[in-house]
């Protein structure tokens, strides 16, 4: 195959992009287009499938094959696309309402099956397209148009659902961090199986600053833990802080204090099949802990769409039935000989004459 070299421009459609000025979606799309251009995948083999919500307009702004489907079902539609043709490179664009609320069932079952799809969950903790109602990821007590006195329910943590459903890949990133985002999108695209990428995305109109505590540049080093497979879990100014495991729990320590050295710090193993530590990392939240970013989990597991092909190939090899005529004549059949047959009473034919 010849070297496939594209630029970001090759992935932009002629359509005017209509997200609000300053919307986090712009940066996410830019990052994904960049990754697509560099993957060496033929342009014709990309398909972008979305549900309903602001982010789900995404396919219209791409020059690839695209399908803007119905609310919550993008993961299911994409499952069909990928199972039909596993050689395609399929991306699902969805949001916290689309994937966690109305599409929650499809989301967990997609993860459970491990179909080789790349799912980008734009999490802005709000319904933007319907103008500001709380979503399943909205924090308890948060006031929105449909929770004027604050919500009285706890939120989903998308990574917990991934772990709970036996997921093979989960990463978290921030819309504005282009470098990290691109690394994560690329890792997701290369992973064999369902790759879930949660992007903390800012809705400038209805939930501006929702992730500000995490993203504030003044505290970024203190509040964000960048995970890389094989590297120690360090954060803070000059990477002086780190994570250790103590009494069955994660704990923040400072190197050089209380006898802690770099050797004590946990080293990130994204490929560990045991999800215990991955879940603990996913659960970390401010202020006691930094928030974990990067590829948190990436493990090998059987891939549904590939298994489907293998099973079909295996059965085909051993079956005596190779075409419909074989099937129609298989099993219990009998021959009816000439017997004076007449097709029903005159003027009122039987069923064979009607067809």
């Amino acid at each position: 195959m010849s070297e496939l070299k594209y630029t970001v421009k090759d992935f932009k459609s002629e359509n005017e992009v209509r997200w609000c000025p300053g919307c986090g979606d712009y940066a996410i799309m830019n990052g994904i287009q960049r990754v697509m251009a560099e993957m060496g995948v033929d342009h014709k083999d990309y398909a972008v499938i979305s549900g309903i919500g602001c982010s789900s307009r995404f396919p219209y702004y791409m020059s690839t094959y695209g399908f803007h489907t119905i609310h919550g079902r993008a993961t299911a539609v994409a499952s069909g696309v990928k199972c039909a043709n596993p050689s395609l490179n399929v991306w699902v664009i969805t949001g916290d309402g689309d994937a966690m609320a109305i599409g929650g069932n499809h989301f967990i079952h997609l993860v459970r099956r491990n179909i080789n799809l790349n799912v980008i969950v734009f999490n802005n903790k709000i319904y933007g397209l319907t103008k500001g109602q709380y979503s399943p990821t909205t924090d308890r007590g948060f006031k929105t148009k449909t929770s004027p006195y604050g919500t009285i329910e706890d939120s989903f943590v998308p990574g917990q659902l991934v772990i709970g459903a036996g997921g093979s890949f989960y990463a978290r990133t921030i819309d504005t961090n282009l470098k990290m985002s691109q690394e994560v999108y690329q890792a997701a695209a290369l992973h064999q199986g369902t790759s879930i990428v949660e992007v903390l995305q800012n809705c400038v109109i209805f939930n501006n600053g929702v992730h500000e505590q995490i993203t504030d540049p003044a505290f970024r080093q203190e509040r964000q833990l960048m995970l890389r497979h094989g590297e120690p879990m360090l954060f803070g100014e000059d990477n002086r802080k780190g994570l250790i495991f103590e009494k069955g729990k994660l704990k923040v320590v400072t190197i050089g204090e209380n006898g802690v050295t770099l050797d004590n710090i946990l080293v990130h193993d994204a490929e560990d099949p045991d999800p215990g530590l991955h879940l603990a990392l996913i659960n970390m939240k401010l202020p006691a802990f930094p928030v974990a970013f990067g590829v948190i989990r990436s493990v090998k597991a059987p891939v549904y769409d590939q298994e489907m092909e293998l099973q079909i190939a295996g059965v085909k090899k051993n079956s005596k039935i190779t075409c419909m005529d074989d099937l129609l004549r298989s099993g219990n059949t009998w021959e009816v000989k000439e017997n004076g047959f007449e097709p029903g009473p005159e003027g009122c034919p039987g069923r064979s004459a009607i067809l």
Partner: protein, 612 residues
């Protein structure tokens, strides 16, 4: 020994009935297959409860299987059974109403005790008197004890022994109707090839039943039913669900588009998914989804990716798929949706038949959302209409809804096996011209767009559920929306050129035209034939194409004084006809009991309208 009474009959209906766990469905199926192999035409109707194992011995737990076979063309399983095989008193109670007056009841006399009478809700020790079954031939047979006796030296526990009771009944009935046992023996050998003990016990009991009939022939009359005169050719027995699955597979092969079925288990449609799942050798992809919505949306994804996509369901599941059918209408993707109708609304009567999803199929979506609607009329022609549904979907880029029902899906009949060469070609509308390609550029004759899927070089495009313009881009232009609504409807109406003209059984004009659609065909054609024999000026027009209607519908209707529309709902098709073919003298006959029509009640309905 008295001489055996031999009775020659043109057709006989037998109803096997017992507890859900008594194996009555298998007994009935084996007897039917053996009869078909002998050259009888047959029609079967399994009638079983929704509960897998309701309490033993109760009326609610009775499972039945009716088969009619004969030396002439058989179109229905029979209104009423000539012979009832009842494994306990509850079976007699549940089925007495399905018997021909003066019929024969063969019952397991070992179960006719106080305990069983109570369970079945009898208040006396004479169930036959209580049910007023006075003039019937009642033959008590010690089925349970004879089964135990014939297996006493095999070292089996009582539970395993009782499991073979159905074979005793089967053997006895085979003797009565002069069916050789070889087909059934072969079946038992094949089915339990790894369990020689089970083979041995079943065969012993089967023969014990047969010999019991022969030895006590003074009690049981023997019936002779000669082979039917049917069209020569290769035959097999097939039920509607299997025929539907095979029709879809045939369409995939004919169109050279791989089959993808996204479905969720639901009674009585599940078997279609099961049959397709067995056909990996033909490359069929089946996806058992997490719910009905994922069933249809995975299928739509596969359609977007260039497959022949189908989803199979029944009423409640069909309701859940409504929004996604709308997406198929809007995106103009080929899709076959099979609805094996059952009693509704809501969970309704899951194991019983009904035709009450017609209006849901036609109108049950938001917006102006036209889809093609077809209905199969017999178990075996589900094959043909599933094939046609796929052909229309692929050639016209439109979702097609195929309505069958529980009666067709579970019922079976002999089917003259077609060869693939006999089936019409299917030419999917695959895009060829890159330069001119726009996703919603239409064929000027059919209004169908062209199909291109990911992986095809030079055709990349975007589609979706939002209203769009010719390039697939979102459009909120008011005139564009009106135009698109009209063209989507017109596209469905254009399918009429694939729809054969409506044929009339009987004279092309007369006093009354009986109109039916879908799974009632067997009963309505028999009704019309019977009435014509009696000199009535009655004809039949049976519909398989509901939307669009055959082009000559109004012309056919206009020749009759009265149009009597008979359907298993409260009048859905007649309402549609009043709207689409106005100005006719419509009358209706409706039944919603979860049961098929009987020819008798249809005859009475027609005569009432003729005399009115």
């Amino acid at each position: 020994m008295k001489e055996t009474k031999v009775i020659e009959l043109d057709e006989v209906a037998i109803r096997f009935s017992g507890d859900s766990g008594d194996g009555m469905q298998l007994t009935g199926t084996l007897f039917s297959d053996a009869s078909a192999l002998l050259g009888n035409d047959i029609a079967t109707f399994p009638d079983y409860p929704a509960e897998i194992r309701a309490p033993q011995g109760t009326v609610g737990g009775v499972s039945g299987f009716q088969v009619q076979f004969g030396k002439k063309e058989i179109n229905t399983p029979g209104d009423f059974a000539h012979v009832l095989v009842a494994m306990n008193p509850a079976a007699v109670k549940a089925n007495a109403k399905f018997m021909k007056p003066g019929g024969t009841i063969i019952y397991d006399e070992d179960t006719f005790d106080e305990k069983h009478f109570q369970k079945a809700g009898f208040t006396t020790n004479d169930p036959f008197a209580e049910l007023n079954l006075i003039d019937y031939t009642k033959i008590g047979v010690p089925v349970t004890s004879m089964t135990q006796e014939s297996l006493k030296d095999m070292g089996l526990d009582n539970k395993s022994i009782l499991r073979s009771k159905n074979m005793f009944a089967l053997g006895l009935v085979c003797w009565m109707f002069d069916r050789p046992l070889d087909y059934i023996e072969e079946y038992i050998h094949a089915k339990f090839s790894r369990k020689p003990l089970v083979v041995e016990s079943n065969l012993r009991v089967l023969h014990a039943g047969y010999n019991y009939g022969m030895n006590l022939q003074h009690m049981t009359p023997q019936y002779v039913v000669h082979p039917a005169r049917i069209e020569p050719g290769l035959y097999r027995n097939i039920n509607g669900n299997q025929a539907t699955a095979w029709g879809l597979l045939a369409a995939a092969e004919k169109s050279d588009r791989p089959l993808f079925a996204g479905s969720y288990p639901i009674t009585p449609a599940t078997e279609i998914l099961q049959v397709l799942a067995e056909r990996k050798d033909l490359g069929a992809k089946t996806f058992q989804a997490e719910d009905e919505i994922a069933g249809i949306t995975t299928a739509l994804g596969a359609s977007f990716a260039g497959h022949l996509a189908v989803t199979t369901t029944s009423g409640p599941g069909f309701a859940l798929k409504s929004e996604a059918i709308g997406l198929a209408v809007m995106a103009e993707l080929p899709l076959v949706v099979v609805n094996v109708q059952r009693g509704g609304p809501s969970t309704g009567l899951p194991t019983k038949t009904e035709q009450s999803d017609l209006l849901q199929a036609l109108y049950g979506r938001n917006g102006e959302s036209p889809a093609v609607v077809l209905a199969a009329s017999t178990p075996s022609d589900c094959f043909w209409f599933a094939f046609m549904a796929a052909k229309i979907a692929l050639e016209r880029m439109v979702p097609v809804i195929l309505l069958t029902d529980g009666f067709l899906g579970n019922g079976s009949e002999p089917w003259k096996v077609p060869s693939m060469a006999e089936l019409p070609e299917i030419t999917p509308r695959i895009a060829l011209n890159r330069e001119e390609y726009q996703p919603y550029r239409r064929d000027p004759k059919t209004y169908a767009r062209f199909w291109a899927w990911p992986g095809m070089e030079g055709f990349a495009h975007r589609i979706g559920g939002l209203e769009k313009n010719i390039s697939g881009n979102v459009s909120h232009d008011p005139d564009n929306h009106q135009k698109n609504c009209e063209i989507r409807e017109a596209k469905v109406q254009k399918v009429v050129d694939l729809v054969p003209d409506l044929e009339v059984c009987g004279d092309p004009e007369g006093d009354l035209l009986l109109v039916s659609w879908g799974g009632t065909f067997g009963h309505t054609i028999n009704t019309v034939r019977e009435l014509r024999k009696k000199g009535k000026k009655v004809s039949l027009a049976h519909f398989n194409y509901i939307k669009p209607l055959p082009a000559n519908t109004a012309e056919v209707f206009s020749k009759f004084k009265k149009i009597l529309v008979c359907e298993i709902n409260l009048g859905q098709f007649v309402a549609y006809l009043r709207d689409k073919v106005p100005g006719m003298a419509y009358y209706q006959y409706n039944k919603v009991k979860g049961l098929p029509f009987t020819v008798q009640e249809l005859e009475e309905a027609v005569i009432k309208h003729l005399e009115a």
